[in-house]
């Protein structure tokens, strides 16, 4: 482990900026979803009403948890089918200047599931597979809708936790429409233009040709990148326009654009924590959750930085300099394989930690080339359930499941019926919470184990030795967690991986989400009892610490054996000088 003052300062300043953004974003979320009194109301209300009219939706009519979930599922199915059709037919559709053919069925299916589940796992290289029409009208649309669905679910779950003796959780169509119109769209417009200013292209042309000073011809791919990049980050989608994702200079040209992209990943997840506290009637409740996930963020970011800055001992004796120099002959040092100069070690490891804390999955450096411990941090972040600020919406409802578990364990310790926000946590709630939490390891470990013994799974590994197992484990963790980042050495565009990874994405999104909605349906009908002497307070440091403990305990018990066979043993072998 090796730390630089600058690397630690980047983490600290970034965290301070997120803390500053949390309250204003949270208040805006309250304005969008509860008070319905944003600044954009006069401008967008007619558009909103028009949507409801065309959809035949009564915006005053609320749904119970089943109705809300059914509406969400139908909306998702419609989106998947349309995207699948667009991919298959792109060869005969317009806006395809480089004449790309239709996408083959397994890959098209995988991609449709991937984008509609907010995963954005990409088994393809964007610039050589998807036409401009597919990127814009297919993939970028799902960046909005899958994010809006996630936020809508989170808002419904928060209502379930905070309403007293109620029956309904809100109207799905209203929450999704308002989430897109008042939240995602306005921020994306500003963010996209800011990215263009920094150098991200926005054009309907597909390529430009240049001849270098040495006479080399270079064909440079571009397109309507900025409009897609903005929502890709803000909606924690992560699906890149280009293969190299946010490492590509056209997706992420400067250290400043990198900072804004990192802030965009966490902004809504952090704001939702405040939103939760506000609706619970006690903003300290939101900050208690913030403190817990903030601590987990800082631990991950610091370890990842330390591991990458230390460099690769196998390269130490080859006559290269892996040490950092700050003033004269400045260089980042460390492990620069698969990293960009403008981000160095500090902005690369910070981005990687953030993108896996949240379920974003955009990358600005190749995680497959990270040192074993540096690459283990993003893997752990995903396996903990991406609750550290988390994906838009999914982070909050994942975290609330852990909160239920934490008060349950606290209740067992003091021998009282557990309560959360004044609501008694009983058998039904615990069953749903446990079901949701168990789905993730079942999918990750079950499918990884299958792929690790199946010839079609093992044959696609890019790096031999324990690193190969990590590639498989990462793939199923990333898809189950709806993250989408990859140890990209795994050549996963095969029918076997296209189908199994798509299955993992469905499990991770919907088999998790439905128990959580059922949990909310149970909670929304409960009375809110005033806190008594024996009530375990859930707004203080004790609760934050307990929550961290529960998250780490569940994660460690579940995944430690798999991690020991992958990154941990690889680290020890690397120190012993072994290569494969």
């Amino acid at each position: 482990m090796s730390f630089t003052f600058n690397g630690l300062a980047q983490i600290a300043v970034f965290f301070a900026l997120i803390a500053l953004l949390t309250k204003p974003v949270g208040l805006y979320l309250v304005a969008v979803f509860e008070k319905k009194n944003t600044w954009f109301e006069p401008l967008l209300r007619p558009v909103e009403r028009g949507c409801y009219w065309l959809c035949g939706v009564d915006s005053q009519q609320e749904q119970d948890w089943k109705g809300y979930t059914i509406a969400m599922l139908w909306f998702t199915v419609a989106g998947i089918l349309l995207l699948y059709a667009l991919e298959r037919l792109q060869g005969t559709l317009p806006l395809n200047p480089t004449h790309l053919p239709g996408v083959d069925p397994a890959l098209a299916w995988n991609t449709a599931i991937s984008f509609s589940s907010n995963t954005n796992w990409q088994n393809y290289s964007g610039e050589t597979t998807m036409s401009n029409l597919t990127q814009m009208a297919g993939l970028a649309v799902h960046n909005f809708t899958s994010a809006a669905v996630g936020i809508a679910i989170a808002v419904a779950v928060v209502r379930g936790f905070t309403r007293r003796s109620a029956h309904t959780l809100g109207n799905f169509w209203v929450d999704v429409t308002r989430g897109i119109l008042y939240l995602l769209l306005p921020i994306s417009v500003v963010f996209a233009l800011l990215l263009v200013w920094q150098g991200v292209p926005q054009t309907f042309a597909s390529t430009i040709q240049v001849v270098s000073l040495e006479g080399f011809k270079q064909t440079i791919a571009l397109g309507p990148v900025a409009s897609q990049e903005a929502i890709k980050m803000l909606g924690t989608n992560g699906g890149g326009f280009f293969n190299a994702n946010s490492a590509h200079p056209f997706e992420n040209p400067t250290a400043f654009s990198n900072l804004v992209e990192m802030l965009a990943i966490f902004a809504l997840g952090a704001g939702l924590l405040y939103f939760f506290g506000k609706l619970a009637g006690n903003t300290r409740q939101g900050w208690a959750l913030f403190a817990a996930v903030g601590a987990l963020f800082l631990i991950g970011a610091i370890v990842c930085l330390g591991a990458e800055q230390a460099g690769n001992p196998l390269l130490a004796n080859l006559g290269i300099d892996q040490s950092v120099h700050t003033y004269t002959l400045a260089q980042p040092g460390g492990n620069m394989e698969g990293k960009e100069m403008r981000f160095g070690i500090g902005s690369s490891t910070l981005f990687t930690t953030i993108t896996t804390d949240a379920s974003c999955g955009a990358i600005n450096s190749w995680i497959d080339s990270y040192t074993p411990l540096g690459g283990m941090i993003p893997l752990i972040n995903i396996q903990l359930g991406e609750i550290v600020f988390g994906g838009v919406g999914s982070g909050l409802y994942g975290l609330l499941v852990f909160a239920i578990l934490a008060v349950f364990i606290a209740g067992l310790m003091v021998g009282r019926t557990p309560e959360f926000l004044g609501k008694k946590i009983q058998q039904g709630e615990i069953q749903m919470a446990a079901l949701a939490i168990l789905i993730l390891p079942l999918s990750i470990l079950g499918l990884s184990a299958f792929a690790a013994v199946y010839a079609g799974g093992v044959s696609q590994i890019g790096n031999a030795g324990p690193h190969g197992l990590t590639e498989i484990l990462y793939a199923f963790s990333s898809t189950t967690g709806n993250n989408g980042s990859a140890f990209a050495g795994l050549a996963s565009n095969t029918p076997f991986y296209n189908w199994t990874l798509a299955f993992a994405m469905i499990l991770g999104r919907f088999a998790f989400l439905i128990p959580v909605m059922a949990l909310s349906g149970l909670l929304v009908g409960k009375k809110i009892a005033p806190a008594g002497l024996g009530t375990f307070p859930t707004t203080g440091a004790l609760f934050s610490a307990l929550l961290i403990g529960v998250i780490l305990l569940v994660g460690a018990l579940t995944f430690f054996p798999a991690l020991a066979l992958g990154p941990i043993v690889e680290h020890l072998l690397m120190l012993a000088g072994k290569s494969y």
Binding site: Q61, V141, T203, A205, V210, I220, S227, L314, M341
Partner: protein
């Protein structure tokens, strides 16, 4: 502690006299699912990118079209996309793992070689040997900056570290017949520091330096 007005949060919405069955909820969701999907496709898939394209082309036409750099009226590069430099009078960039050749700006990507990959160790060894051969004026035993022998993430990295630029000064000075101090001065003029002194890393843009070197010699 702040509390919302009770009318907005904690008042239960009165349940309808007869609650809809699951079957009714399923049927009533079909039309909005289809219509909203189509509306999103039109609004977010076509109108939104079209509007952003219009605004971007008006406000930032150079960036929106790829930040092209012209030399004698011809586009020679994008300022943001690295190029493959081989001739000794030019500053060289980082290794690129794009396929089929290096710096293929039509198919970005990295090596994805893991830290314990024998192929990685071997490749770095070869790059070290090649660099030493190409830079014979550098005192023997000088360690090579890591970024100059490790492939970038995009394969299109336009920048190198200050140390990596300085490493090439003796070669550039000899081939161009300039003093090392003159070459160093040009490199120093093209160092971009960290954003706010904190974020990112100090960089030297390879193309900028090469254009400046040519300019300094009147090309």
């Amino acid at each position: 502690m702040t509390t919302l007005a009770p009318t907005t949060t904690n008042t239960p919405v009165p349940a309808p006299a007869t609650r809809p069955t699951i079957w009714q909820q399923t049927l009533s969701a079909i039309r909005p699912a289809i219509v909203l999907t189509l509306l999103c496709t039109l609004g977010l898939g076509l109108a939104y990118p079209a509007a952003i394209t219009g605004l971007a082309q008006f406000l930032f036409p150079s960036q929106a079209n790829g930040s092209l750099v012209y030399h004698n009226g011809q586009p020679v590069a994008s300022a943001l996309i690295g190029q493959y430099w081989t001739q000794p009078q030019y500053l060289h960039g980082r290794p690129s793992a794009t396929t089929p050749g290096p710096y293929n700006a039509d198919n970005s990507g990295g090596s994805n070689l893991g830290p314990t990959s024998a192929a990685l160790v071997q490749t770095v060894q070869q790059r070290v040997a090649a660099l030493r051969q190409a830079n014979p004026d550098v005192p023997p035993g000088t360690a090579i900056p890591a970024d100059l022998v490790e492939a970038s993430a995009s394969g299109l990295d336009p920048d190198i570290s200050v140390a990596a630029a300085y490493y090439q000064i003796p070669r550039l000075a000899r081939v161009r017949g300039m003093t090392q101090a003159a070459v160093r001065a040009i490199i120093d003029q093209h160092i971009t520091g960290r954003f706010l002194g904190i974020f990112g890393d100090p960089i030297v843009n390879v193309l900028d330096v090469n254009l400046a070197l040519d300019r300094a010699q009147g090309h």
